[in-house]
Amino acid sequence: MGLQPYLLLSATVFSIGLFGVMTRRNTIGILLGVELMMNAVNINLVAFSRYTAAASGMIFTVFTICITVTEAALGLAIVILLFRVRRTVMADHLDLLKG
């Protein structure tokens, strides 16, 4: 298999993730979308790594997975705290930064 199917898969997953981030009202749903986008990136990295036979892409992927995990943990923690303070996790209610 060539590179293209992987890239297509990656782009699809990224788009789904982006769609989720943009449309989900629930903050946890948005976080899930972000995870999807991250994984799309990972797919890209691995595919290019295999394609060019360079190990650095693999190593990068391991790093990214670690960071994604911490990001998910932090994000969930923030959501829980947010829920405690505001009693809601709906993104369109959280507009304190409104100008």
Binding site: M22, T23, I30, A91, D92, L94, D95, L96, K98, G99
Partner: protein, 690 residues
């Protein structure tokens, strides 16, 4: 240092630096200054030491020229100007006059200002020291740049001292007026100095003199330069039309008036022209202007002095008049005669002012009609004042005799019959108005107080404008201050504080002013009077005895060149003076001539003179219409155009911000939309455009 530090130069330097030292101590050591009297004594001691030093410098240094300078303003390897002292015949004798008068005035002020609060007394003496330093620096200046610097310092000090009682609005206004009007002349002086520098490349007086006498200075265009320099002298020496500041300068304490009028401020202009007479000699057309303006100023001020009822203002106008005399002599090409009159005038005018101060101190008022019969109560003051008056009238054996003769002779020989006739008339008027003061103040009986109210001030007060006629309201201010009682000592001007308020209260109620408490001034005030009177007499006797040849003793050797004036001159000049005295005697002593009918005979002139010939009004109109009008136009431009543009810009900014804040929804997903759209647009741009 350039030049040899000879004994005379050293002493001149000491005389210069002692007042500066005194000023610095008083200015920097504030607690000492606030002690008042110790500070006063310190400053007076410094002034006395400076005087002794000046005498030594004169004694040793009158013959040869001593110059000690330090390089100043280095510029690309050459120094543009030096700073230091130049001691020659003129500057050494000027140095003596300045230090003498400033010492005597400071000593006199110890008595005159004894009611002054301590902290402002210290301030007064700090100013006095600075004044003495500036004037000495001016007198000894080796180049025009140092001269100009000291010239400005003198102007500053006169501003500070005229406005010494700055709580009084009229004093503050008079100070500002003096500063502005002299400043107007100073601009001319600065321009003249710089233009002269462009022409010759030097500021140094000796070099300039060498160039001028050897004919190395091109005469073309020099008239503008000398006229510009003369402008500065006009401002400082109160020549028409810049004389208006001087009578208002009477708002300062009387010793200050003595200092300003006798030895420092106003003589600076005459001294400048004396110092640069070789330059003016190259431009006879400017000299003619100088002579005519001088003579006209002399006459104008003499006429004005005749209608004044304030003893200090009479003296002020007489100073203007005498300055006109000096200027006319310079204009006639005999600067030495003007300089001689400057010196003798310095002595007797200081005497007259300090004597007037003693009278004011005793009576508590400046108004002549409130005085009268003072000779019985204060015989010494009266005697000394009369000595000064006779000097001013140019009577033989008194100080002003020879110098006046010299000036009249110089003007006649200089081929200026017009100014000569004016000056002769002025000699008559001078004797008249001065003896009017003498007879009104020291002889006769005190006038009823009703006369006080109508006299002199009433027409001027209220009609003459605000900024320019600080003077007219002075008397009114003082009177209302007395009426209100001003019980707060901090706010009370000392003259009012001293004026025996209970007597004044009686005066306001009753109709006869008895001046019950008038008495001789204390010794600190009487002593300077005696010193000045004796010196005036000594100079007078010496010069009357020795004739014109003795003038060289005072103004240096170059004096002898003058041609001998005709023999009829002396009797005519003295006769004019005596006639003036006679008229005053007939009018104000024996009352053989009714004063009011005399006034009626000169009705139009008199009423014009009371309005100061509308010169103040002209200045006020210039100020009110042109200056204020321009300010109003500029203010409008600033308020509506400059500010308008800025306001518009800021309004737009605020409005745009208001419009744009709708984008900032605060919802995170909207931002994600923004980012995604941005990326999309970027990608499309990369694909399609680049």
């Amino acid at each position: 240092m350039i030049g040899v530090l000879t004994g005379s130069a050293l002493h001149a330097l000491i005389a210069l630096l002692l007042p500066a030292f005194s000023f610095l101590v008083l200015a920097i050591v504030a607690p000492f200054r606030r002690l008042g009297r110790p500070a006063a004594w310190f400053s007076t001691t410094c002034a006395a030491a400076a005087f002794v030093s000046a005498l030594i410098a004169w004694h040793y240094g009158a013959e040869q020229i001593a110059k000690v300078v330090w390089p100043w303003l280095p510029s690309g390897g050459v120094t543009i100007a030096d700073v230091g002292v130049l001691l020659d015949a003129q500057s050494s004798v000027m140095l003596c006059l300045v230090t003498l008068v400033s010492f005597l005035v400071q000593f006199y002020s110890l008595g005159y200002l004894h009611d002054e609060p301590a902290r402002s007394l210290g301030r007064y003496y700090a100013y006095q020291s600075l004044f003495a330093f500036s004037m000495i620096g001016l007198a000894l200046a080796p180049n025009l740049l140092q001269l100009f610097m000291c010239w400005e310092l003198v102007g500053l000090c006169s501003y500070l001292l005229i406005g010494y009682w700055y709580q009084r609005p009229s004093a503050a206004r008079a100070a500002v007026k003096a500063f502005w009007i002299t400043k107007a002349g100073d601009v001319g002086l600065l321009i003249g100095i710089v233009m002269l520098w462009r022409l010759t490349g030097t500021f140094d007086l000796q070099q300039l003199r060498m160039l001028a006498t050897s004919g190395a200075i091109p005469v073309a265009g020099l008239s503008i330069i000398t006229f510009a320099i003369y402008m500065g002298a006009m401002g400082k020496s109160a020549q028409f039309p810049f004389h208006v500041w001087l009578p208002d300068a009477m708002e300062g304490p009387t010793p200050v008036s003595a200092l300003i009028h006798a030895a420092t401020m106003v003589t600076a202009g005459v001294y400048l022209l004396v110092r640069t007479d070789w330059l003016f000699a190259l431009t006879p057309n400017v000299l003619t202007i100088v002579a005519w303006i001088g003579a006209f100023t002399a006459l104008l001020a003499a006429v004005l002095a005749c209608v004044q009822d304030d003893i200090k203002r009479v003296l002020a106008y007489s100073t203007v008049s005498q300055l006109g005399y000096m200027m006319t002599a310079i204009g006639a090409g005999v600067a030495a005669a003007g300089f001689l009159h400057l010196l003798t005038h310095g002595l007797f005018k200081a005497l007259l002012f300090l004597g007037a101060g003693a009278v004011i101190h005793a009576v508590g008022s400046n108004d002549l009609p409130r005085m009268g019969g003072l000779a019985r109560r204060m015989p010494q003051t009266a005697l000394l004042f009369i000595v000064g008056t006779l000097s001013l009238a140019g009577i033989p054996l008194f100080g002003g005799f020879l110098s006046k003769e010299e000036i009249l002779g110089a003007v006649w020989m200089g081929g200026l019959p017009g100014p000569f006739a004016l000056l002769l008339l002025v000699a008559f008027l001078t004797a008249f108005y001065m003896f009017r003061v003498v007879f009104l103040a020291f002889f006769g009986t005190p006038a009823p107080v009703a006369a006080v109210v109508h006299a002199g001030h009433a027409p001027a007060h209220g009609t003459v404008g605000q900024v320019v006629s600080a003077s007219a309201e002075a008397a009114a201010d003082r009177r209302s201050a007395e009426r209100e009682g001003w019980s707060d000592p901090a706010r009370t001007p000392p003259r009012v504080a001293h004026s025996h308020l209970h007597n004044e209260a009686v005066v306001e109620g009753a109709h006869v002013h008895e001046v019950p408490h008038a008495h001789e001034p204390p010794a600190t005030m009487l002593l300077p009077l005696w010193v000045l009177a004796l010196m005036t007499m000594a100079v007078g006797v010496y010069t009357t005895w020795g004739g014109a040849a003795t003038a060289g003793f005072f103004v240096g050797g170059e004096h002898a060149e003058q041609a001998v004036p005709p023999g009829w001159l002396t009797p005519v000049a003295v006769g004019a003076g005596l006639a003036g005295i006679l008229l005053a005697w007939l009018t104000y002593q024996t009352r053989a001539i009714n004063a009011s009918s005399l006034a009626a005979a000169f009705g139009p002139i008199r009423s014009a003179a009371i309005r100061k010939f509308w010169i103040d009004d002209v200045f006020e109109t210039i100020y009110g219409l042109i200056l204020l009008g321009l300010a109003r136009v500029v203010g409008w431009i600033d308020r509506y155009i400059v500010d308008g543009v800025l306001n518009l810009l800021s309004d737009w900014t605020v409005q745009a911000g208001d419009e744009l804040r709708g984008i900032q929804t605060g919802k995170p997903q909207d931002y994600v939309y923004g980012v995604a759209t941005g990326v999309l647009v970027l990608v499309l741009l990369m694909r399609l455009v680049f």
